[in-house]
């Protein structure tokens, strides 16, 4: 493994391996960067949630830290007016299509969305955007857990976990544009699609899309 190099994030010098993705280097050093879709083990990050923006000295525009390899001496800022604006807007956009009822949500206290709001001082109620909430049917076929597409942020963590951690691979993205969602083949109920009920997808979900039933009752 290559020798560690020094980089500066928000004025703090940290050590990281060159070629590592900046997002994980920062998180490992206790520096928080909002993120939903990032997968540490994945060499080709989806870069789809668009929340992990940072500014890097010498680059004209903010970049996603999940795709940015660490290079020696790089100077990174996790906050700037441009970064804050993009993160705020990306977050707002996700929430405009998110069925937000934290009180009813089993993930209420472990939810990454709430964490982002807390860390960045963002409001969970979006006032200026139109609500794009869709009333999609909830899939409770698996019994142990529930899939609520109305609380899905399309990060793809569940699909990755199902394929690579559980080795099952029944979840994936279907449809396009506003209709894009996580589903099984043919959009059949989860249990009818070869689910082993291992729960890896639920553990991977950063939001309220996949929740254990026990959490709900408890």
């Amino acid at each position: 493994m290559a020798a560690k190099v020094k980089i500066t994030i928000d004025g703090r010098e940290i050590e990281a391996s060159p070629g590592d993705r900046l997002l994980w280097a920062a998180l490992d050093s206790g520096i928080y960067i909002p993120h939903l879709c990032g997968i540490r083990e994945e060499n080709h990050p989806p870069a789809s949630c668009r929340l992990c923006f940072v500014e890097i000295a010498g680059m004209p525009n903010p970049v996603t830290s999940c795709t940015q390899p660490v290079t020696a001496g790089m100077v990174v800022y996790t906050r700037s007016s441009q970064v804050d604006r993009l993160v705020r807007r990306g977050f707002q956009l996700l929430l405009s299509a998110y069925h937000l009822r934290c009180g009813e949500c089993p993930k209420n206290h472990t939810c990454e969305i709430r964490r982002i709001a807390k860390e960045r001082g963002l409001k969970l109620r979006v006032k200026d955007l139109r609500p794009l909430d869709r009333d999609l049917p909830v899939d409770a076929s698996a019994g142990d857990f529930v899939y609520d597409p109305n609380r899905c942020v399309l990060c793809g963590q569940c699909a990755w976990a199902c394929r690579h951690r559980a080795g099952v691979g029944i979840l994936g993205f279907v449809r396009r544009g506003m209709e894009r969602r996580i589903a099984t083949f043919g959009e059949a109920p989860i249990l009818a699609s070869g689910c082993t009920r291992c729960g890896e997808c639920v553990k991977a979900c950063p939001a309220g899309g996949l929740t254990f039933q026990k959490e709900a009752s408890g």
Partner: protein
């Protein structure tokens, strides 16, 4: 790979033999009368196949020895169907709007007798003493045809015709050069990618050539999807071998052994003509193993895309080609380093590849002599909208918008007032009258807030509402968003909601600030080119036509009287004649009625705003008008 020096017969010699044989086969033809009917998709839409059938039938009926050929598109869409007739003793004449009747007359009067029917003729192809040529018209005068030169005058299904016009000579030349030298030539020409972004082609090739890994791939991006753009289709349908030659040269230069042409399935004729071209090239040893005896081998296949606009984005195109959903991914890695199946891949647009044979044949200096310093060469535009002479035109880079719209395009249709042009389709921007003297090239357009895009150029007049235009294009990109990234999926949807509200008279003053901010955020935050450019029509109309947005919101009025919810139709009693009834008959909703005094009026409750009454009201009356803001009382 063998080098040219060790070959027993140089590629150039094999090529000369091939060309000679092709010319031998064509000699007889040149002395016979020949009718060429433009049957590209544009011609067919105007009835070219009926014209073709009429010619054939009439020629057979009269037992004439006249050859009839199908050719591609000359670019003058407004005159389709177009026909060229070549008769010994006359210069070849181009005829426009040739229907079956004119076809039969041309056979009887010109082919049988000696009256060339100059009243139907548009121009002669070659200089002569009796009739003007294309270059004698402003369009032809300001045009400079490089990649469209043979379009519409050669048979795209006949390789001999392309060989006769020095086709594949550039390939033969390239094959006797070192691949690195070919890259150097293209680099020196400063050719920039015609897909829209204008990335230097030579640099792309060099990156791919130097990237480690075999096999390497070349891909021709023919997934033209912009509304209003049809240049790639016209090139593929009119001169497919030119694209193949460019792709072959690209493959040789970067060291690729397999190539694909990614064509959208909505272009069936282009697919058909490409496949024919591939078969013919293979038969002549211009494709496959040991091309022209050079030791270089390449195979090409046509791949049909299934209609996703985003597949024109190169990473999505590759995903689609690999059999995955056509969804873009983050760059880098760029395809030149890691593309198809993770291998180094060059992806070039149809137009970009079409320039390559010309650069190789005539040299980089010749190419740099056309156009501007930083954007050399020509630009091919699809002129559409409210311009008199619609069609495909090729002008040197650096031509001003004024020249393009008013000289080449013949000005605004029906003598109306120019308002704006939308350049670059849904990714481009609207430029107002003040930009008419802008010399168009990649960089000037970028600075003006538009972009070259694929080259669609829609001319707008006073009847076009800029808010509705922005809404229309955003609706397109929003529908075509793959949905992967937050900003494009949800941001374009939020913007579309706001624009829809404004065009329906539900807009609020604060919407404009939000719209402007959202547009900026979607541009900055999106993952791929689709999202990054989708806000351009909104941003540019907000910048140049903000007052139109404000009038919609503040006064509930559409100044161009285009937004249906903000207008009412009204029949001016003083102008209406009691004697005519056409408006009543034209109304599908039975909203137009005759008052007791014989004057016509419209029941606003029933009116569906279809515009029929306005269109049918005879021009001498023009009694039907549109009123904005809507006035429910009028005409009731």
């Amino acid at each position: 790979m063998k080098t040219a020096a060790t070959l027993e017969v140089a590629p150039d010699q094999i090529y000369r033999d091939l060309q000679h044989a092709a010319r031998q086969r064509l000699t007889g033809e040149k002395e016979e009368p020949l009718v060429m009917v433009g049957t590209a998709t544009c011609g067919r839409a105007a009835g070219a196949l009926d014209t073709l059938a009429a010619f054939k039938e009439e020629i057979v009926r009269r037992h004439l020895s006249v050859r009839v050929r199908e050719v591609g598109c000359l670019g003058d869409c407004y005159l389709e169907p177009m026909v060229i007739i070549q008769k010994p003793g006359y210069p070849p004449f181009i005829y426009g709007e040739v229907d079956e009747g004119k076809a039969r007359r041309l056979v009887a009067d010109f082919l049988v007798n000696d009256d060339p029917c100059l009243e139907f003729a548009m121009a002669a192809l070659e200089p002569n003493d009796i009739f003007p040529t294309l270059a004698d018209y402003p369009r032809g005068f300001y045009e400079q045809r490089v990649i469209t030169e043979l379009c519409g005058i050669i048979d795209p299904t006949e390789i001999d015709q392309y060989l006769d016009h020095e086709g594949y000579a550039a390939l033969a030349r390239a094959l006797s050069m070192d691949p690195g030298e070919v890259v150097a030539q293209v680099k020196e020409s400063k050719l920039r990618g015609r897909g829209g972004a204008g990335f230097p082609t030579g640099l792309k090739w060099e990156t791919c050539r130097k990237a480690p890994g075999t096999p390497k791939y070349v891909i021709c991006n023919a997934d033209e999807g912009d509304p209003g753009a049809f240049m790639d289709r016209a090139l593929l349908e009119s001169n497919p071998h030119q694209v193949l030659e460019g792709l072959l040269i690209a493959a040789y230069a970067v060291g690729a052994s397999q190539g694909y042409i990614y064509v959208r399935a909505e272009y069936p004729l282009a697919v058909e003509r490409l496949k024919t071209a591939l078969d013919q090239a293979r038969q002549r040893g211009l494709l496959g193993e040991n091309i022209l005896g050079s030791g270089f081998s390449l195979d090409l296949a046509v791949f049909q895309g299934s209609g996703a606009f985003v597949c024109g984005e190169e990473t999505a195109l590759i995903a689609s080609l690999e059999g995955r959903p056509g969804i873009p991914s983050h760059r880098p890695p760029f395809p030149a380093v890691s593309g198809l199946y993770g291998q180094p891949t060059v992806i070039n647009n149809v137009k970009t590849l079409s320039y390559v044979p010309h650069i190789l044949r005539q040299g980089p200096d010749w190419f740099r002599g056309i156009g501007t310093t930083d954007s050399p060469g020509t630009a091919v535009f699809a002129l559409a909208g409210k311009v008199a002479n619609t069609g495909m035109v090729e002008v040197p880079m650096g031509t001003t918008l004024r020249r393009l719209v008013f000289d080449v395009g013949g000005g605004i249709k029906d003598g109306k007032e120019f308002k704006a042009v939308l350049i670059g389709g849904p990714s481009g921007g609207c430029l107002p009258e003040t930009a008419l003297d802008l010399a168009i090239d990649f960089d000037s357009l970028q600075q003006a807030g538009a972009m070259m895009g694929s080259g669609g150029l829609v001319v707008l007049d006073a009847d076009d509402c800029m808010v509705e235009i922005a809404r229309f294009f955003l609706e397109f990109t929003q529908k075509e968003s793959c949905g992967k990234c937050t900003f494009c999926r949800l941001g374009t949807k939020q913007m579309l909601e706001i624009l829809t509200d404004i065009t329906k008279g539900r807009g609020k003053p604060e919407d404009l600030t939000l719209l402007w901010e959202l547009a900026g955020d979607v541009k900055a935050g999106s993952l791929c080119g689709l999202g990054k450019t989708a806000p351009n029509p909104v941003l540019s109309t907000l910048r140049h036509f903000r007052h139109e947005y404000e009038v919609h919101i503040d006064e509930g009025r559409c100044p161009a009287r285009m937004c249906q919810d903000l207008i009412t139709y009204y029949i001016v009693p003083q102008k209406c004649t009691k004697l005519c009834n056409v408006c009543v008959g034209s109304c599908p909703a039975e909203a137009v009625y005759t008052r007791p005094d014989g004057i016509k009026a419209i029941n606003q409750e029933l009116c569906i705003k279809c515009n029929n009454c306005l269109v049918t009201c005879p021009p001498e009356h023009q009694a039907v008008v549109k009123i904005s803001p809507p006035s429910p009382a009028e005409g009731a």
